[in-house]
């Protein structure tokens, strides 16, 4: 996907939040511009017996957060495309909301690197972390 700055909306990449994917993932912005929330839904469960979140759902949340973070944390206005992600699953997850916080590792002219931490109960107890590489496209 691409996240475009749209002056007609309230913030960068806000139009993304109304896309089918964002609705399926149930991703929301929060009061912190670097923090996002996934509202738990039964479709996010991977293993119905231990009721843990699907690893791919956590991965999707990491990737979506990195792209939204680019729009919100940098002055860059160009669209982006996610090139790669590497996700470590640090703790077992449960059937509850997932929060992410995005930080910039480096933003170059053509490539940007982000780190994303995910948690449920407490930010001090991360359940996953991800490294994402974004290609900055010509606006």
């Amino acid at each position: 996907m691409t996240v475009r700055h749209d002056p007609e909306t309230t913030g960068e990449g806000e139009s993304f939040f109304s896309s089918s994917f964002a609705v399926w993932l149930a991703i929301e912005a929060t009061g912190d511009k670097d923090m996002f929330r996934m509202r738990f839904d039964e479709r996010h469960i991977g293993n119905p017996f231990i009721r843990a979140l699907h690893g791919g759902v956590v991965g999707s949340m990491v990737e979506a957060s990195a792209e939204l973070g680019f729009g919100r944390l940098t002055e860059s206005a160009g669209p982006t495309e996610l090139v790669s992600s590497a996700i470590d699953y640090l703790r077992v997850t449960k059937d509850a909301d997932l929060f992410t916080r995005v930080s910039i590792v480096r933003v170059g002219r053509r490539i940007a690197f982000f780190e994303v931490y995910c948690w449920q109960d407490s930010e001090d107890l991360p359940v996953a972390r991800g490294s994402c590489t974004l290609r900055i496209l010509e606006a």
């Binding site: 089918s20 479709r43 996010h44 469960i45 843990a52 699907h54 090139v83 470590d88």
Partner: protein, 147 residues
Amino acid sequence: MDTDKHPIEQYFSFKHPLTQFLPMEYVGLEDGLLTMNIDVPGHFVAEPATGAVHSGFATLVLDTVLGGAVLGHIKLSQPIATVGLTTQHMRRAVKGEKLVCRARLEGIHRNMAHMSGQLAAAGGEMLSTATGTFMIGTRAKPLGARL
């Protein structure tokens, strides 16, 4: 439970809230390579103008198929957990497109399965590749037991 079925076929035969959103069909297991066909659903579209789905859709499919391939290699039914997943994304799939996902076991050592996989268009164009590590026999307890 039909024990003649591959575990990923059984997973997709459950009325599971997630699998209802992932239209996948088991094709076969040949020389250790698990193959699944996928019809790209509309739920994952991130760009309505083009119908392109989010890269997260490919991540979701690859994690599912790599994990399913792990289950096909272990004799006893045991829970597994994704420990690490690295994905490279080329082109985004488009709603309605037909895809093929393949996954292979590279090796198992100390209950850790090392997997690789790829998601391609039916015509052969590569869309995403992934490597993943999965713990076999996770100690994760049902939520009720953790409370």
